[in-house]
């Protein structure tokens, strides 16, 4: 009787699974980055397109080689390397040399991610590791900016007029850019960070889909706005207004796409809030008192390092234990 029945599949419960998958999540994150990517190419020219291409090629190739060398299952199609590749370029200056992009991409994938065991195990955001490494390796290149929409058609390095980012202008010259320009993105700065608007649109979709933890960006923004506001009230001449803080520099892309990286952010709700507050605090401290003009990247990296401790500190109370009633 049982003979003719074909082999049944045995597995533990549950037998129903949601439709989310790593691949789908990463794919949607990539998709949501596209508007900002497209805008950055429009703004800074075809050279930026070349940077994206180089970064993507390097990231994918590196990931492929490492995974093969380690004899692990093929992981390229999960799309996480692509996210890293895009984000890496988005936080670089528009005329960063291509060999630098290659170096950054290799460092991001190898030291930022694979050294810890690949996707899911990394402690720091790989793209930020790549960027921080480049910042330390090529400190001059990383602070060389150009004005957008000038020399757009060109792909050479020399046709663009160099300029400072709004944050650098604020820091060293005390010039504060208009919030509207910052919001729409008609300012100098890193490739993908300029348009707060486009970044927000993508992020809102991701929040709706619950693919990013909304508490993180919200608490970052609130902390930055409140602290920035307090300092602005104390001394408006020296400290810029909170709107400027929110829309200038890498805060938007950092808060929305890098701090919220699932792997490197806390897993508890409370932890996310602490994490965000920490980032906001450090951003303000570095921007206003540090030697660097932009601190979002370092703030996130530093808080990444604290995530295991945050997770531990905010470990939820298990049902039916402690002060439940």
């Amino acid at each position: 009787m049982g003979e003719e029945a074909q082999a049944l599949i045995l597995s533990t419960s549950p037998h129903a699974k949601s439709t989310d998958s790593v691949r789908k999540i990463m794919g949607i994150v990539n998709l949501m980055l596209l508007p900002a990517v497209a805008f950055s190419i429009y703004q800074f020219g075809l050279y930026v397109l070349a940077m994206y291409a180089v970064s993507i090629a390097t990231c994918l190739a590196t990931e492929y080689l490492v995974v093969r060398w380690r004899k692990r299952p093929f992981s390229l199609n999960d799309g996480s390397a692509l996210v890293t590749a895009l984000l890496l370029v988005m936080v670089l200056p528009p005329r960063f040399p291509l060999y630098g992009v290659i170096l950054g991409a290799v460092v991001a994938i190898v030291i930022g991610k694979q050294i810890f065991g690949g996707i899911g195990y990394n402690i720091f955001n790989p793209a930020l590791i790549g960027r921080a490494f480049l910042a330390a390796a090529y400190p001059v290149w990383i602070t060389s900016w150009i004005t957008p929409r000038i020399g757009v058609d060109g792909i050479s390095m020399t046709d663009a007029v160099s300029t400072a980012t709004p944050l650098a202008q604020m820091k060293f010259d005390g010039v504060v850019a208009a919030a509207a320009d910052l919001f729409l993105g008609f300012i100098g700065g890193s490739i993908g960070e300029t348009s707060a608007l486009l970044l927000l649109i993508g992020a809102i979709y991701l929040i709706v889909k619950k693919y990013i933890k909304w508490r993180i960006p919200l608490s970052i923004f609130l902390t930055v706005a409140v602290l920035g506001g307090i300092f602005h009230l104390i001394n408006p001449a020296r400290f810029p207004n909170p709107l400027f803080h929110l829309f200038a520099g890498g805060l938007m892309i950092g808060a929305l796409y890098m701090a919220t990286d699932m792997v490197t952010s806390p897993i508890t709700k409370k932890g996310c809030v602490y994490f965000g507050i920490g980032i906001g605090l450090l951003v303000i401290v570095i921007r206003l008192f540090g030697g660097l003009s932009e601190g979002a990247m370092y703030a996130i990296l530093f808080m990444n390092a604290l995530v295991p401790l945050i997770n531990r500190a905010t470990k939820p109370r298990i049902f039916g234990t402690g002060a439940g009633e």
């Binding site: 082999a7 049944l8 599949i9 045995l10 597995s11 533990t12």
Partner: protein, 278 residues
């Protein structure tokens, strides 16, 4: 000037040295704390540089851990092998040699070739996990085949053969029993080296059921029971069992076994010699 400097430096160093050694002497007298003599001797054997490379808080921490057996004697990096040897001596590892060495054996013959697989198991590839839902072999008494025992073996004395069954390298096996603990289906067992015949099946299914699902299982035909007149072999719960207290090697029992689950086991290397000596 030269002499003055000389005198001053000798005096100040001497002074510092004197004061400090006084403090230490007093401390040594007043603040001495009694300790486990083994810890103390272990501590004396250690380099005492408190480098922390062992992961413990200083040499005393390491010494205590060694004495309690929490860490291997070779855990001290600066000390190297010499210290390890000393420590081993101090801790006096006079392990009682077992009279007959124990060896682990695999009591299932139903590999990929022999056992019928009538379902598809999807999930974590460890025996322990697969055992929850039953694995993919039809026989519920069979080796699941994901090698938990191999992973558990601390001596690299096991491997999975191409037929999906674990194999014990008897030379390396120390009879520690880790594989026995790791196996969720009791396939692994420890045997005395002088037991030379074993039943390589654990199935308690009835003969016809076994016949259907495995070509190398005990079908409880009782031929062995009939052939061996010593009474050492019996079929209990549809499975042949050997009582070694009656007879260590009931050779006759294996002759007519239709599925060859009763077999002469691989001899334990080096054991024959010892036996002769006795």
């Amino acid at each position: 000037m030269g002499i003055a400097v000389l005198i001053i430096s000798v005096a100040s160093m001497g002074g510092i040295g004197l004061i400090l050694s006084l403090i230490l002497v007093v401390a040594d007298k007043k603040l001495a704390v009694k300790e486990d003599p083994r810890v103390e001797r272990a501590l004396a054997a250690l380099p005492g540089i408190n480098c922390g490379a062992c992961g413990f808080a200083g040499c005393s921490g390491f010494a205590a851990a060694v004495a309690e057996g929490k860490i291997s004697v070779s855990g001290c990096r600066p000390g190297g092998q010499e210290v390890a040897a000393q420590l081993a001596q101090i801790l006096g590892g006079e392990e009682a040699e077992a009279e007959t060495p124990k060896k682990a054996r695999v009591f299932c013959s139903g590999g990929l070739k022999e056992a019928v697989r009538d379902k598809v198991y999807v999930g974590v590839r460890t025996c322990e996990a697969a055992h929850i839902v039953g694995g993919d072999k039809a026989c519920l008494y069979s080796c699941i085949g994901y090698g938990d025992c191999v992973d558990a073996c601390p001596f690299d004395a096991m491997y999975m053969d191409e037929n999906g069954l674990p194999v014990v390298i008897l030379e390396k096996c120390t009879g520690c029993g880790e594989c026995v603990k790791a196996c969720p289906r009791n396939i692994m067992g420890l045997t005395d080296a002088d037991e030379t015949i074993h039943v390589y099946c654990r199935s308690q299914d009835k003969g016809p059921v076994v016949r259907k699902i495995c070509s190398a299982g005990c079908i409880a035909c009782k031929l062995c029971e009939k052939d061996d007149d010593t009474g050492a072999v019996m079929v209990v719960d549809n499975l042949a069992v050997i009582d070694y207290s009656v007879h260590k090697d009931p050779l006759k029992a294996i002759e007519r076994c239709p599925t060859k689950v009763i077999r002469v086991s691989e001899p334990v290397p080096g054991f024959e010699k010892e036996k002769a000596r006795n």
